[in-house]
């Protein structure tokens, strides 16, 4: 077929932020399906809660302090996360590096706390269906925490190499975006795991 050039797009940028970029939508897609996974796990928890006369089954509720401490750190982490986001939009490499290091350290701290949380669940996965679903949900969220931490660490290292080119700032903003999802996902899970057994 004969081609007629009707427009020149040569002036367009080669990367963008947020809904303009492809990876942002990819992250959105994965958050949707992972969010669905969480929702279904919550559904399974509530189903087991509904069909059992006593809850938690043969155990005391989890100790509150590890989960609560996590909630506080998660919520506070939004501040450096957002500062990293703004620095990335300004393409301020020095501040992006600092921000990523801080976020990596926060991730490590949360992972340590998560270890304590498993230890203070006061049930094992093979005690009862209650123990099983609690371990599954906490494991699921821990997988997200570990994945995002891994991603953040690799990105931090990357930003200290010669590959720290302008388009990488867009990757940083996507990483920031995904962290918000990890934080948001934890809040209902915390309420479910730590407070529903106390109802």
């Amino acid at each position: 077929m004969r081609q007629t050039i009707v427009r020149n797009v040569g002036d367009l940028p080669t990367y963008g932020y947020g809904p303009q970029s492809g990876p942002w939508w990819g992250a959105m897609g994965f958050m949707a399906l992972e969010g669905m996974g969480f929702a279904l796990a919550i559904g399974a928890y509530l189903y087991l809660y509904a069909v059992n006369p006593s809850w938690p089954i043969g155990a005391t509720p989890p100790d509150l302090w590890p989960g609560t401490a996590e909630v506080i750190i998660y919520l506070l982490s939004i501040i450096p996360n957002e500062m990293t986001n703004r620095a990335a939009h300004r393409q301020d490499l020095a501040r992006v590096r600092t921000g990523l290091i801080v976020m990596s350290l926060i991730g490590i701290a949360l992972l340590v706390l998560r270890g304590f949380e498993f230890a203070h669940l006061n049930t094992r996965w093979d005690n009862s269906a209650y123990g099983s679903i609690v371990w599954l949900i906490l494991g699921l969220h821990t997988t997200h925490l570990v994945t995002d931490l891994g991603d953040t660490v690799v990105l931090t290292v990357l930003m200290f190499t010669r590959h720290a080119k302008p388009r990488r700032f867009s990757d940083v903003t996507d990483n920031v975006f995904y962290w918000n999802f990890v934080v948001l996902a934890w809040l209902p899970l915390y309420a479910l795991l730590d407070w529903v057994p106390r109802l």
Partner: protein
């Protein structure tokens, strides 16, 4: 990037004609040789592999069906043992659902959607390659296990407690459950790719109301996959945990509940039917418009029906559980929603009939299969409305009536459109036409064979023949209808042999197709057959819903994309206004290596929980290799 660098870069507006084509081809082609083939990220190469692999699994699943029909052709047959029969019907269902029906639809989308929306590659091409390898390895895992007599034997839905360690102390259910994980990872990856391709990579001017109906269908399907498949992953993971580390999800003595399994399974399992059927409707709309020589009547009605079907499909799952003793209110609600979903499907069917009625139909093979689809699917839909009613369902549950129903829906609703789609798009994919004469034989053998095979099953079910029995006694009076059904199955199988023969023959000897052999209207027909690695020398601009009917002489295009590195054009979500010239990844071996590491992890973790520890580092290494910039031009922008 500095202005100097920008000016130095070669753009596609500086080249023309053959020079432009060869230049773009050299940038976008898959590297030659065996290692090049393993590195390919071209959506057409991956899509073709996906299609061929899915059809290979169709053949395997079909052979199992033939074995079952041979066994059931006469009473008290000893052709298959009870244990073999259990494995075979489980393998048949699992293969057809997880290794054929869903993957083949996604495969067509992987191949066609980027072409139909006018872009050069799918979004996240490396994820796409990874997805294919996961699908291939998962399928091989299932079939190698079967060959080693560890094939699952607990039905394609693996109900607990039958599939629990207590009742099935072999690895057979674990093989089933982990095959699920493989194929779901693959399907979820493709779905995200399709959504982002449709949202962000449409040709400029392809507004939401100019998207081809097949692409709309695949978009809706992708959302269904994203929201349904996490359920089966939660289910299969918890089943493996129950069997491996003694969790108690399904153990009623420790607070677990077998019905939790059924809820999780069918919350996925019912949308699954629509994940298979909706792409079929997209194929029907594409074929119908071309051969009725007019656009499909009621474009917005069809799209809204697709979306409505998608939403409603999540409110039906409990109708698979009517005999589990649910509260009456729940049963009533799910009966109502099961009947409600017939409305959008019915609307689509009326739109298609109106298209045929108002068009000037050309009865070539693809259209024959579409008409076969309409007839068979309507019959399946009618028996579906019947089993949506609790009293009828209670009577026919677990009988051959249900087997007849879902084969009418699935083969009618998906396989007939699919074979039509093979005849329709084969010229685009291979550059050659399939034989029309063999195609007609193919259609009539399939149509007659299918009905002879499956219609008698309605009656067998009504007179009491249960599903999943490996044999029956002569005094049940089921022998004649079973023999008839087996005869039909052989005719149906013959139709697939004919399709295979047609494909093999036509690959070498078929008439050359040219760019647009059917005089169709959508963008995939605006490029050569088969399309070059870059799909289009320049990205098309869309001014009409049927661009090639609007103007079949010249194609409006944009210029200004790089002619030095892989670049795609990103456009806005609703209006498809150009926004970004984004780099598209180069070929890479890392998706394959990541898939191998993931396979080791998945298979290891049905044997020992420690696989989580030793299986993760190789995956992490492979993923870092995947995402670390290799110093290609497109990464350094």
């Amino acid at each position: 990037m500095s202005m100097m660098a920008e000016q130095r870069e070669l753009r596609d507006d500086a080249l023309n004609g053959l020079q432009l084509s060869t230049h773009m081809e050299s940038i976008w082609r898959t590297p030659s040789g065996f290692s090049g083939a393993l590195m390919s990220v071209d959506h057409k190469v991956v899509g073709r592999r996906y299609i061929v692999t899915a059809f290979a699994f169709l053949l395997l699943g079909g052979l199992l069906a033939v074995l079952m029909r041979v066994q059931l052709a006469k009473p008290e047959s000893t052709f298959l043992s009870a244990d073999k029969y259990n494995q075979i019907f489980t393998m048949h269902g699992s293969t057809m659902m997880f290794l054929f029906a869903v993957p083949v639809m996604e495969a067509f989308a992987v191949y066609l959607v980027p072409l139909m929306v006018g872009t050069r590659n799918i979004a996240f091409p490396r994820l796409n390659a990874f997805s294919y390898w996961m699908f291939l390895f998962g399928g091989c895992f299932l079939w190698i296990s079967f060959a080693l007599n560890v094939g699952p034997d607990v039905g394609w839905f693996a109900y607990v407690p039958l599939s629990s360690l207590q009742y099935t102390p072999t690895k057979r259910p674990d093989v089933w459950a982990q095959m699920i994980t493989f194929t779901e990872v693959a399907a979820l990856a493709v779905s995200v790719e399709i959504v982002v391709t449709v949202f962000k990579q449409r040709a400029p001017g392809m507004t939401l109301d100019r998207i081809p109906l097949f692409v709309w269908a695949m978009l809706v399907t992708s959302f269904l996959v994203m929201f349904a498949m996490p359920s089966i992953m939660v289910a299969s993971t918890s089943m493996i945990l129950d069997r491996l580390v003694n969790t108690r999800f399904y153990d009623s003595s420790s607070g677990g509940h077998p019905l939790l399994w059924q809820h999780l399974f069918w919350f996925f399992g019912h949308p699954e039917v629509y994940i298979i059927f909706i792409p079929g409707t997209g194929m029907v709309s594409a074929i119908l418009a071309t051969f009725a020589r007019r656009p499909v009547v009621g474009y917005p009605v069809v799209i809204l029906s697709l979306i409505a079907t998608g939403f409603l499909s999540f409110g039906l799952w409990v109708h698979h559980m009517f005999v589990t003793g649910l509260p009456q209110l729940g049963a009533g609600l799910f009966t109502a929603s099961s009947m409600l979903i017939a409305v959008p499907s019915g609307l689509q069917i009326f739109c298609w009939l109106a298209t045929l009625w108002d068009g000037r139909p050309v009865y070539r093979t693809p259209l024959l299969f579409v008409i076969g689809f309409i007839v068979i699917f309507v019959m399946g839909g009618l028996s579906g409305v019947m089993v949506a009613s609790v009293p009828i369902d209670t009577q026919v549950h677990d009988t051959y009536f249900v087997v007849a129903h879902f084969h009418y829906v699935l083969i009618g609703g998906a396989v007939f459109p699919l074979i039509g789609a093979v005849y329709y798009w084969f010229p685009k994919i291979t550059g050659r036409m399939l034989s029309e004469r063999l195609g007609r034989w193919n259609f009539w053998l399939a149509f007659v064979g299918f009905n002879v095979a499956f219609f008698p099953m309605h009656i067998l079910g009504l007179i009491g023949m249960p599903r999943r029995v490996y044999t029956y006694t002569a005094d049940m009076d089921w022998a004649h209808l079973n023999l008839l059904s087996s005869g039909g199955a052989l005719i149906f199988a013959l139709s697939f042999a004919l399709l295979l023969a047609n494909v093999i023959h036509s690959l070498r000897n078929g008439a050359l197709a040219g760019d647009n052999p059917w005089n169709a209207s959508t963008l995939e027909w605006a490029t050569s057959s088969p399309p070059p690695p870059q799909n289009f020398d320049r990205i098309p601009v869309v001014k009409h819903r049927d661009p090639l009917w609007f103007d079949n002489e010249s194609l409006p295009v944009v210029a200004g994309l790089s002619a030095e590195r892989r670049e795609v054009l990103l456009t806005s979500l609703a209006e498809a206004e150009p926004q970004i010239r984004e780099a598209s990844p180069e070929p890479s071996i890392w998706p394959l290596l990541t898939a191998i590491a993931t396979t080791v992890f998945f298979i290891g973790s049905i044997f020992t929980p420690w696989a989580v520890l030793w299986g993760t580092p190789p995956m992490a290494v492979a993923l870092i290799g995947w995402f670390w910039p290799a110093g290609h031009k497109e990464d350094e922008e």
